[in-house]
Amino acid sequence: MKKSVFLGALTVAGLAAGAAAAGTLDDVKARGKLNCGVTTGLVGFAAPDENGRWDGFDVGVCRAVAAAVLGDPDAVEFVPTTGKTRFTALASGEIDVLARNTTWTFSRDVDLKFTFVGVNYYNGQGFMVPKELGVSSAKELDGATVCIQTGTTTELNLADFFRANNISYEPVPIETNAEGQQQYLAGACDTYTTDASGLAATRASFENPADHVVLPEIISKEPLGPLVRHGDDEWGDVVRWTLNALIAAEELGITSANIGELSAAAGDNPEVNRLLGTEGNLGEMLGLDADWAVKAVQAGGNYGELFEKNIGENSPVGLARGLNAQWTDGGLLYSPPFR
């Protein structure tokens, strides 16, 4: 088994060099399918629905990219990855883009040689506890047993938080979110920690969500975003501007409902026209069709629609927009101009 890992690493290294040289955009077009890395299942972000069709907020980004590049939001091969396998999968070329609640950090960007193309969710790490425990602040967790997904930034934040507050804890490392749920619900750990959005999603899938509370402390900055391999800027641009197109579409009031009408002919707003390809040649610059952004928005709606449908306040996950509102509404979402 060890030997196969070693040989696997060799092949991985070989594949990666090949993939980086060929140009991911051409590869995806030739293949006719986008390989997109997602979580193994996190309600609201990426999980197969009852028909086995992948659905969620991160999945929406994958589908938008597939629609922009290939014209078909269903031309996506979803590759479930764990916290430990995701980077190897991306570096090796097994996936073209990783949209999996991955925190943008310095070392991942610089040392692991990835390019984060933007932020699709501003997150932070929180704690969930059973209500009956009577804890109201994370600083009261001295001596608690903490379930934590191994191989994530949350593990390091947790160590830093407890060290900075000079309190002790017992980490219980777990491999996937499902195992974390099992251990937490059985009382094998007092608290479960991960990104606050992940906690909300996990809590939503419980039988009695009201028996559990997410503590107010957010102990870290976790900007989550899709990422691609270093060194293929053309492909990075495609994913980056697809994400920006979704954000800009919300800002400009383009929704899946009115996009057909708006893209039929050039209208009064030049930026809308440039984005939807009725004016200028932005699509051509990216190496895509002129109506790439139209297809991207049609895939699942603009950023706000994706948010509301999958993780918004009316969905089971029930997250408020908070920092993830448009900059015009006091949030942090700010797409560079389309010109």
């Binding site: 980077f87 040392d111 047993t145 980490p171 490392p173 009382g187 094998a188």
Partner: protein, 422 residues
């Protein structure tokens, strides 16, 4: 008179390397070796070049950077400011711990089951057969996950011990707490402790050696030596007079009196676990991850060892037992003097490979969140630093060293018990 001349000595020609059967095999081997080395060199250079292209040259400097993560089960001191190398070493000690406990438990259980499977009692033999077949035909990973799930779901959580109408209570006179976070047992404490010696200074491999433990071990070894002397003297008396003096009470005294005196001198007492805050505090915490892994690995490997033991005993012809019986030996002595020494010759070599299997299977520990070396170096460190190749190479080296050490020890033991053939 005929002149005797030696046949002209054939001079060596290069073509003989191919056409002369005396040299041909060397040629083929040399060519094969060269080819194999070239293939290896190609793989290695390919890897290095490709990693260089990716901007990830092979470096081991990351091992000396702070690990930044915590490990729950630590046999040696460690905190999240220590280096990745230290974290890997802590993982290594955890691997060795579960391998050691597993090998012992699997051997005891395996011998027991192997012997019972040969029992003349139909029910006992069949039950053991079912155990062996069930355990060795299901992947060990499933047993590990099942053991963990059973422990987590069936045992009470610490909060059940709290309050006036607690649904769970501690066992063994309130000294042991069995929870779904692990078993808390009393820990030995010494009020007049001799302290620790710190070995290897500040290096990542540093360790503390408890002088109390060392003193206890030394006293026990000395006692055993004294008991052997007493027994040798008893044998000498028996040989000269034919009467063996009773020695058991002397032996018991030699074993226990110095030990008890030492324990009193050190101020030995037990520290009991107590429910404080979220968890039990004090006592020794046997985590469920360790218990589940230990249990599953032992039960799984014991099924194989049972078959080896059964095969070993069946390999000794029944004539041996009958002959020994004819010499007047009793069944117990027949087993210990005639059958087992010969059976061990058959048992030991496959037993070695089962110990190796158990050790290597312990790398499945991450399934239950047990922080062995695969979990630390091959898990968190690899993932946080992105140094896959380096980490995997070091992991392979670590398992290679462990396995070769086990082999060396067991082979030495094998050479001692094997039948000397004349």
């Amino acid at each position: 008179m005929t002149a005797m001349t030696d046949p002209a000595r054939e001079s060596f020609r290069l073509s003989m390397l191919i056409y002369d059967t005396r040299y041909r095999s060397f040629t083929i081997q040399a060519v094969a070796l060269l080819g194999f080395m070239l293939f290896g060199a190609w793989l290695i250079s390919n890897t290095i070049t490709n990693l260089q292209t990716l901007g990830k040259p092979v470096q081991f400097g990351f091992l000396l950077e702070p690990a930044q993560y915590d490990i729950n089960q630590r046999l040696l001191d460690y905190n999240n400011r220590d280096t990745h190398l230290r974290a890997a070493f802590i993982g290594l000690t955890n691997t060795l711990l579960v391998a050691f406990l597993g090998c012992i438990a699997a051997t005891i259980l395996g011998v027991f089951v192997g012997v019972l499977r040969l029992s003349k009692n139909w029910l006992v033999a069949k039950i053991m057969a079912v155990y062996v077949e069930v355990f060795r035909n299901v992947p060990v990973l499933l047993w590990i996950v099942l053991a963990m799930a059973v422990l987590i779901e069936s045992l009470p959580s610490p909060k059940d011990f709290r309050g006036d109408n607690a649904t769970a209570s501690m066992s063994f006179f309130d000294s042991v707490a069995v929870t779904n976070r692990g078993v808390y047992i009393p820990e030995p404490l010494f009020s007049r402790s001799l302290g620790d010696v710190h070995l290897l200074g500040d290096s990542p491999l540093r360790m503390d050696l408890s002088l109390d433990l060392l003193a206890i071990v030394l006293v026990i070894i000395a006692s055993i030596f004294a008991i052997k002397k007493v027994n040798a003297r008893a044998t000498a008396i028996q040989n000269s007079t034919g009467l063996r003096p009773t020695t058991w009470h002397v032996n018991l005294g030699i074993f226990f009196v110095p030990l008890i005196v030492l324990l009193i001198a050190l101020g030995f007492h037990l520290g009991y676990p107590e429910l404080k805050g979220f968890n039990f505090q004090g006592g020794t915490h046997l985590r469920n991850s360790l218990t589940a892994l230990w249990l599953a690995l032992s039960l799984y490997t014991a099924a194989f060892i049972a078959e080896i033991v059964r095969a070993g005993i069946l390999a000794i012809s029944h004539g041996q037992t009958e002959a020994a019986g004819a010499l007047g030996l009793r069944p117990k002595r027949i087993m210990s003097l005639v059958v087992l020494p010969q059976a061990l010759r058959v048992i030991i070599p496959p037993l070695i490979s089962n110990y190796l299997n158990l050790t290597k299977n312990s790398s499945l520990a991450i399934a239950v969140g047990y922080m062995d070396i695969t979990g630390t170096l091959g898990g968190i460190t690899m993932n946080q630093t992105g140094r896959e190749l380096e980490s995997v190479l070091m992991l392979m080296l670590a398992y290679l060293i462990i396995s070769l050490s086990i082999s060396a020890v067991m082979n030495w033991y094998n050479s001692r018990v094997k039948l000397v053939e004349r």
